[in-house]
């Protein structure tokens, strides 16, 4: 009978494992292999991959909409070829966030499409860590408007050099990935400087143990080491935990007066900030762009929201001038949104689309993947809606501005601009 019960329990475990395994096997329905040479056709495909379900949906949707708007405004043409935009979702309803299986399937789908010349995404750095190597082997250009993890492009502080970042993502030895959002050495410096300005004396730090969150927490600690305050590094949380009250009490007992989380909203961030706010009623709370969305801002109770600041690589709408004003107006009109409540990442999605259009214009053969990659890395002193920037040899942008946002009435509200100076 013990054996009988053990057998039943084992069978149960096997059934669950099998069900998850089958779910993970969903893949591309396209056949064919990619090619590095030009197809000679007059149509190319641009793929995007963002989380369109779960807690990151607002950000994913605004990024995708931004790309779509840019392409449509150009009549879906650039470099003399027609553009077929293929938006993909790298999240699942069951997970409530991006999943490695979905992101891997998206990257493989793009690789197997001979007409694909660029892949715009991802939002989550962990997802990029999955797709960069897949796209790299196919020589397909990848442009991210959302990834900030340092290790994706360089071995600067915050990168996990122990696992071989960033080379581990580029099996061919050639770079194919660029981003237009400043990496987390910049955001870490912005958060660290902000906490110094606000008079923090002891900063509690937690992360969600993902590529982005863990790296960002390390960047904050690295950048903050030059200031007078101390750190209490609590390590990683169990993102599935029902609450974090005991961890919050541990911070309170250590005299923590400021708290920062390296992670995303989907990593149970709302519960985490609620518990930190309750255990430390006077503490100031800080969050990175990973929680810079309406689900996080709208989920916090008023007393916690009023003490929370979020850094996002977006500035006030006014800071983007006439071109920005037109973008926000067009976006609101096309997608039926309140012009003043457009997600902070929408403009990054838009610029990603605009840059790809520019890249196709400049590429020797816009149907050739290698030429598109080369043109992307040849981006120098580009006058964009985000300001003038270049893409360096690692694929990083030269932009460094971060916006600090307060939370008012459940909405992110721009407060100030920080031009951070990273240590590396």
């Amino acid at each position: 009978m013990s054996q009988r019960r053990s057998g039943l329990l084992a069978a149960g475990v096997a059934v669950v494992a099998l069900s998850f395994g089958l779910a993970a096997c969903g893949g591309s329905d396209d056949d064919g292999g990619g090619s590095g040479s030009g197809t000679g056709a007059n149509e190319v495909s641009i793929y995007s991959s963002f989380p369109l379900q779960g807690a990151s949906r607002p950000t994913g949707i605004s990024l995708q909409n931004g790309v779509q708007l840019a392409l449509e405004q150009a009549g879906n043409k650039a470099g003399g070829v027609d553009i077929n935009f293929v938006p993909l979702d790298d999240s699942t309803a069951q997970a409530g966030e991006w999943t490695p299986e979905a992101e891997s399937a998206n990257a493989k789908k793009a690789v197997q499409d001979d007409s694909a010349v660029a892949y715009i995404g991802t939002y989550n750095s962990g997802a990029a860590a999955i797709s960069i190597p897949i796209l790299n082997e196919a020589g397909l250009a990848m442009l991210s408007p959302g990834n900030t993890a340092v290790g994706l492009t360089s071995d600067a502080p915050g990168a996990d050099t122990g696992i071989g970042e960033p080379d581990i993502y580029y099996p061919t030895g050639e770079r194919n990935y660029a981003r237009i959002v400043p990496k987390d050495t910049v955001q870490g410096a912005a958060l660290a400087g902000l906490m110094d300005e606000d008079g923090c004396t002891k900063v509690g730090v937690l992360n969600d143990n993902e590529v982005y969150g863990k790296g960002l927490a390390a960047n904050v600690i690295d950048a903050g080491s030059k200031f007078d305050y101390e750190f209490a590094d609590g390590g990683a949380i169990d993102t599935q935990a029902a609450n974090f009250r005991s961890t919050a009490k541990d911070f309170a007992s250590q005299g923590v007066d400021c708290f920062v989380f390296g992670g995303i909203t989907a990593s149970n961030a709302v519960q985490l900030y609620k518990d930190m706010g309750a255990a430390m009623p006077d503490a100031k709370l800080y969050g990175p762009d990973g929680v810079g969305d309406s689900d996080f801002a709208g989920g916090l109770p008023a007393d916690v929201a009023s003490r929370t600041k979020v850094t996002v690589p977006t500035l006030s709408q006014e800071a983007y001038g006439k071109e920005g004003a037109k973008f926000f107006k067009d976006y609101a009109a096309k997608f039926g949104e309140d012009e003043n409540k457009i997600g902070p990442f929408a403009i990054y999605g838009y610029e990603a689309g605009k840059l790809i259009l520019d890249v196709l214009d400049r590429a020797e053969d816009p149907t050739n993947r290698a030429d598109v990659v080369k043109a992307m890395f040849d981006t120098k002193d580009r006058n964009s809606i985000l300001g003038k920037y270049s893409i360096d040899e690692n694929g990083d942008t030269t932009l460094t501005d971060y916006g600090v946002f307060d939370i008012k009435n459940g909405d992110l509200t721009f407060d100030e601009k920080i031009s951070a100076k990273p240590s590396t």
């Binding site: 009978m1 013990s2 009988r4 019960r5 039943l8 329990l9 069978a11 149960g12 059934v15 669950v16 069900s19 379900q53 779960g54 807690a55 949906r57 999240s91 309803a93 069951q94 409530g96 966030e97 937690l206 143990n209 609590g234 390590g235 990683a236 949380i237 169990d238 599935q240 935990a241 029902a242 609450n243 974090f244 009250r245 005991s246 961890t247 009490k249 541990d250 007992s253 909203t265 989907a266 149970n268 709302v270 519960q271 609620k274 518990d275 309750a278 255990a279 689900d295 709208g298 989920g299 916090l300 109770p301």
Partner: protein
């Protein structure tokens, strides 16, 4: 583990306040797991089925409670007497709806498979789990949803010897105790409770004695669902955040609690829930939250090695 930290606290701080607070947090969290674990252990005890959908029934209980707050107009401005009345009504709604849901699942999904191989209802349970998760996604979306903090969950109610008792602690413990006592009395003394015990021991003999086994099994699912619905309300008020995935994690923990306490044993499920709650809180506070799942399951393995039938496991149809 608590003893080791108590000795540490006495030598380092000269008091037991910190470990006291850890245990208090553990008991209030564990009380919720205990209520969910009761459903697992009752169902396993009577039909040898791991009802994987039970965690999701608990999740739906939270969602129904959240909806009931809206239907009844309960918010932060509601006067205390009305709030108490409203919450009592919500408890009733959530418990009855979850009980009915669990009963319906049994009738539609498990009863037709009563004589089928064990894997058939097991897979059906996994199926219902996914169905209910998706119902949750369609209902409130894929993100965590904040519930109005109607009771001031983390507000201090009183202090005993340096140990802070919050409104949430009081709600969790004071709601769970009567529910568990009531259920225990019901199983021990009520006619249906005796029928449940008889069916758990030997369904064929129970049938020969005139017990309606199908009805008894349905009642077991219904009662398990009622407990899950009550836990759903307490969870919503205690955590103030709910989402479609909460049932998966709660189900995993509660099933672990049921196994640790001795599957099929009601008191064991409660003890298991409280122990896991305490281990979680001590680990979060003392060792680091990233280690908590490892420590919980390492403790489960240890218990299984020493007492394969669980802490309070006894000779049953399944276990002996």
């Amino acid at each position: 583990m608590p003893v080791a930290f108590a000795i540490h606290d006495l030598s380092a701080d000269g008091s037991l306040v910190r470990i006291g607070n850890n245990l208090k947090d553990g008991i209030s969290n564990g009380a919720i797991w205990a209520l969910v674990a009761l459903g697992y252990t009752m169902v396993y005890g009577i039909v040898e089925l791991i009802n994987f959908a039970h965690g999701e029934v608990f999740m739906i209980g939270s969602f129904i409670a959240f909806a009931a707050f809206g239907w009844l107009g309960l918010d932060l401005t509601t006067a205390i007497p009305l709030l108490i009345l409203g919450l009592a009504l919500t408890l009733l709604i959530s418990a009855i709806a979850s009980g009915a849901l669990n009963g319906m699942i049994e009738k539609v999904g498990y009863r037709p498979l009563r004589d089928a191989p064990k894997l058939a209802p097991l897979i059906t349970a996994v199926g219902f789990s996914f169905i209910l998760q998706n119902v949750g996604v369609l209902w409130l979306g894929g993100s965590q949803v904040s519930v109005p903090d109607l009771i001031g969950s983390q507000n201090l109610l009183f202090e005993v010897g340096g140990i802070d008792i919050t409104n949430g602690d009081a709600l969790s413990i004071l709601t769970t105790i009567p529910l568990v006592l009531g259920l225990t009395l019901f199983i021990d003394r009520a006619r249906m409770g005796k029928a449940m015990r008889a069916t758990a021991q030997d369904p064929d003999a129970a049938r020969l004695m005139g017990i309606d086994v199908d009805k008894t099994i349905s009642a077991t699912f219904l009662i398990g669902g009622v407990m899950a619905g009550a836990a759903g309300l307490i969870y919503a008020l205690y955590q103030t955040t709910i989402w479609f995935h909460q049932g998966f994690e709660a189900g995993l923990i509660a099933f672990t609690a049921a196994v640790m306490g001795g599957i099929g044993n009601l008191r064991g499920a409660v003890v298991g829930g409280l122990i896991i709650g305490c281990i979680q809180q001590i680990s979060d506070n003392r060792i680091g939250p990233e280690w908590t799942p490892v420590i919980v399951f390492a403790f489960l393995v240890l218990v299984m090695l020493v007492r394969p039938r669980g802490l309070l496991g006894e000779e049953t149809r399944q276990a002996g």
